[in-house]
Subunit: 248 residues, 2 copies
């Protein structure tokens, strides 16, 4: 194994709906990128470019959202947006809604987020299809720079049993998000039964080390990690299949 | 923000119970280490050096362990060890036991693991006090090399809702495992309410990118990450407090 480097992508302009995200990303990262890199991008800039922002002043909350918001001191319009982004509610405790999104991700507030968004009354949704977003970025890197990279789109999720949030992958392109050691043996000849590594999540977590919620570094380059190339891969592979999920 | 580098620590000898782990680690990593680095060490070598190996041939399973093992096709002696390492069983489904360890970590098989362990009938436990193990390694680096580093001891855990395992921190020394952005504002002036980052887990995940379950790279150096120095910190800060844990 050799060294892995994580390089922050700085100098990105503020991204607005309809902006050419690929042009902004490559403007900031292009000269640093090399073939074989993993370009890790926070969903926030992807969502903004794709217009996945909701102005709460135009949202009429349902009776259910109003009742929940009133009881928990939340903004009923924001609760309404969370419910609209949810396919299934996993838990509602205190003011917290843990929900399954249309993509299958289980996370707080169905990925609806009010931080790092312009405007007081504005919230940001997850991209509609974060894998497609990742594929578009990857294609742009190939077409405009002639380089082959993998792309990971991230969000930060909480986890049961553990405090704090970590960055995870919500979209991938060009690489296998899981690395399956099953069938291989360790140096003692022991078959590695339970060793499927969520490498896309580990890349997402690693990239967070050079990002910064306050300075808003929206992307990072991971260099030296030998990912398993894969076309047509999806971050949905990182969703635990319902029949194996003990915590639905 | 500047670059973060992750360097694999190679050339470690096989560690056996009673070995001087610090000498082995510093022999392999010492010349590469610098003040300000985070030395990330898999718990497996720590557990081995501390003699946290159990020879199953000496284990007499309880009736409960025998019944569960028979019904699920598991080794009753291994189930017995899992139960002994458990403070509370969270789920028992199929052959899977998700348990809370004495440290408070919730994970599969209470951290009992048969991979990368010498001997067919041998399993490895988590260190009894992984923070103390991390502190010992940190102290050895200070005493023998005159360097100030942070240390993270890791294991790989599965997660509800997401497929695959990722490396997480089970022991820390010299750094705050959580980074609390609450009270700070983003570039739009929005107060970052829910932003407590589990940076020790992200460091653990990042280090996995240069480890390899087959080649058994047992440690990594993370350079360039500006951790928040903290004496007396603990990976138990990464355990979700029971009153805030919706999935107990």
């Amino acid at each position: 194994m050799s060294e892995v480097r994580i390089l922050p992508v700085t100098g990105m302009p503020e991204v607005r709906p309809g902006d050419d995200l690929e042009a902004a990303l490559l403007g900031a990262a292009g000269r640093a990128l090399r073939s074989g890199d993993v370009l890790v991008v926070t969903h926030k800039v992807v969502s903004k470019a794709e217009g996945r922002l909701v102005d709460l002043s135009g949202v009429t909350p349902s009776a259910f959202a109003r009742e929940f918001a009133e009881r928990t001191g939340k903004d009923a319009r924001q609760v309404e947006v969370v419910l609209r982004e949810s396919r299934r509610i996993v838990r509602m405790v205190g003011g917290l809604i843990i929900a399954e999104t249309a993509h299958g991700f289980v996370c707080a507030n169905a990925g609806v987020d009010a931080s790092n968004v312009p405007g007081e009354d504005c919230v940001c949704l997850l991209p509609e299809d974060p894998d497609a977003s990742a594929r578009r970025i990857r294609a742009a890197v190939r077409e405009r720079l002639g380089l082959s990279v993998a792309v990971v789109v991230t969000d930060s999720f909480g986890r049961p049993w553990r405090a704090g949030i970590t960055n995870v992958a919500v979209g991938v392109a060009g690489m296998a998000p899981l690395l399956d050691y099953r069938g291989e043996t360790d140096e003692h000849g022991y078959a590695l039964e339970a060793s499927v590594l969520a490498v896309a999540d580990e890349l997402a977590a690693a990239s967070e080390l050079v990002m910064n919620k306050v300075d808003a570094v929206p992307a990072a380059i991971v260099r030296g990690y030998r990912y398993v190339p894969a076309e047509g891969s999806s971050a949905r592979e990182l969703v635990m299949p319902p029949e194996r999920d003990l915590f639905r």
